[in-house]
Amino acid sequence: MSATSNQPLLTVDDLRVTFPTRTGEVQAVRGVSFTLGRERLGIVGESGSGKSQTGRAIMGLTPSQAKITAKTLALGNRDLLSISASECRHLRGKQVAMILQDPKYSLNPVMRIGRQIIETLKTHEKVSNAEAKARTLAMLEAVQIRDPERVFSLYPHEVSGGMGQRVMIAMMLICGPELLIADEPTSALDVTVQLEVLDILDKLVADRGMGLIFISHDLRLVSSFCDRVLVMYAGRVVEELPSADLSQAQHPYTRGLLNCLPTIGSDRHPLPVLDRKPEWRL
C-alpha cells in the first residue's frame, strides 16, 4: 500500500517550536523526528501534546512570534526553513495542503463555494475560467457531492458540516498536492457522517498516491485509518508503531489512552485512568 520511494516525501529531524510567554519560553514541540513516504501517518495525542503545532510547522503556519528550529525540515529536497515567504505560499496549496477541523471556520463565509475552490486553483495554475469551473465541478463530484452544480453556487452556511468538510477536501486536493495534512478532519462531525468523510478521504489519498499526515486525539480512529502511528506527549514522540501492532503498545501513555475509553460490552467500573508520570515529559 505504501510504496517506498528512495527519497522520502517529507523529512523532519529534531523539530522544535518555541513560544515566548510572560513566564518564559514554552516549547510546544520538543524534538520531533520522522520521515514520511507515500503513506498514511497518524499523529495522536491529547490537547497540548504538540500534534497540531507539528502539522502547522510543516505547513508554515506557525504564528510569527514562535520560533521554529530543526536539524532538517524538508519537503522532498527543499528545505522548508530557509525558503522565503513567497516560495512558501507557492508550495502551500500546490504541494502541501491542510484540512482543518471545522468547515464552519475554515471556509470563507462570504464567498460562494465554487469561487473559493477556483481561487485556490487559479492561484497555482494558469487555467481558463471554463476549465477552472469544469475542474471544480469534477472535484466536487470526486468528493461524492451529488449535485455539484448546485453546491458550486451555495455559500458555506447553506451546507451541512459533512458537506462543508467535503468541500474543504475538494479545495485542498484540486491542485494535486503530494502531501496532505489533516488536522482533526472529522472531529466536528456526527459519527455517521465521520465515516463517509473518512471513506472519501481514504479513496482519494489512495488513488492519487499522496502522503497523508492524520492528526487526531482519537487513537482508535487513527490506527484504523493509518499505516503507522506516532503517539505524542508533552511535545515529544513517546512511541511510534505500525497501526496493526497497536495492541502491543509498550509505552504506558499509549496503553493508558487505549484503556481509558469506555466501549460497548466491556464492563469496567471504574474506568482505568491515566497516571501521568513526570518522567514521560523528559
Binding site: E46, V191, L198, P262, G265
Partner: protein
C-alpha cells in the same frame, strides 16, 4: 415510528422519578421535539443518544425549563410542571451539567462565588462547610476555592460544574454531553467521578451523548433519538447482544466501532 418504549426495556425497578408524555417543542415552525415520551425510574441511569439535531439536548433543556414545551406533560417526583417556569423546589430536585465547561462558568467569578450562589438562592446557612465539602467531593480540594475559571483546565472546570450541581443535593442530574469537550483520559476521570457521586447519593441520571460507548458504560437503559422523535428504547446490554430492532440504532453502533476500509 412509535414513541412508546418497548415493554421489555421499560421494566423500571422503582418509582418513577421523571415522566415525560408526548412532549413537543417547536421553534418557529420546526418541531425540535415531536411527541416524545419516556419514564426514568428513581435511582436509574438513563441515556439519550442521537446525532446533532436529533433533539436530545432540547429534551433536557425542556425538562430543566430552559426551553418551553408547547404540548405534553412533565412530572418530576410526582409533581407536575408546565411548559415554562420552574419553582425553587424543582431546582432543589433537578440540576444540570452542561457540555462546554468554558461557557458554563461565569468568567469573572471565583469558584467560591460560583458555588455560593445556588446556596444563597436556596437559603442555606452553613455555606462555608458545604463549599469545602463540595470541592473535596469532586477531588479538587481547598486550593481551588479562590481561583477563577480561566485558571483551571477543562477537566477541572467540569468538576466545578458538577460540584455546583451537587451542592444543592439534588435527586436528579441532567447531564448534557458532560465529557465531549474533554480529552479521553480526562473523560474517564469525570465519568468515574459521576458514577461515584451517583452511588454515594443514590442519584437519578439522565445523560445525553452522541457517544454510544459512553452511554452504554454509564447507563442501564437508553433511548435512541432522531429528528426529534424517539427511535427506540433499549437496555444497555441489548447493544452488546445486538438485540434491537431499529436500523438507525445499528447504523450508530457501526459508526461507533470506527473506520473500516473497504
Amino acid at each position: 415510528m412509535t414513541t412508546v418504549p418497548s415493554p421489555n426495556a421499560s421494566s423500571s425497578a422503582g418509582p418513577v422519578a421523571l415522566s415525560i408524555r408526548d412532549m413537543v417543542v417547536t421553534y418557529d415552525e420546526f418541531n425540535a421535539l415531536d411527541h416524545v415520551s419516556l419514564d426514568v425510574a428513581e435511582g436509574e441511569s438513563f441515556g439519550i443518544v442521537g446525532e446533532s439535531g436529533s433533539g436530545k439536548s432540547t429534551l433536557l433543556r425542556a425538562v430543566a425549563g430552559l426551553a418551553k414545551f408547547g404540548q405534553g406533560s412533565l412530572e418530576v417526583n410526582g409533581q407536575s410542571y408546565s411548559g415554562s417556569g420552574r419553582n425553587k423546589e424543582f431546582y432543589r430536585t433537578v440540576q444540570m451539567v452542561f457540555q462546554d465547561p468554558y461557557g458554563s462558568l461565569h468568567p469573572r467569578q471565583t469558584v467560591d462565588r460560583l458555588l455560593l450562589e445556588p446556596l444563597v438562592i436556596h437559603g442555606f446557612t452553613d455555606v462555608d462547610a458545604r463549599i469545602s465539602r463540595a470541592l473535596d467531593e469532586v477531588g479538587l480540594g481547598a486550593g481551588f476555592r479562590f481561583r477563577y475559571s480561566h485558571q483551571l483546565s477543562g477537566g477541572q472546570r467540569q468538576r466545578i460544574a458538577i460540584a455546583r450541581a451537587l451542592i444543592l443535593e439534588p435527586k436528579i442530574l441532567l447531564l448534557d454531553e458532560p465529557t465531549s469537550a474533554l480529552d479521553a483520559s480526562i473523560q474517564a476521570e469525570i465519568l468515574n467521578l459521576l458514577e461515584d457521586a451517583r452511588r454515594a447519593r443514590n442519584l437519578t441520571f439522565v445523560m445525553v451523548s452522541h457517544d454510544l460507548g459512553v452511554i452504554s458504560h454509564m447507563c442501564e437503559r437508553l433511548t435512541v433519538m432522531k429528528t426529534g422523535k424517539v427511535v427506540e428504547t433499549v437496555a444497555a446490554q441489548a447493544l452488546e447482544k445486538r438485540e434491537f430492532s431499529a436500523d438507525y440504532t445499528r447504523q450508530l453502533l457501526v459508526a461507533s466501532e470506527g473506520f473500516r476500509r473497504g
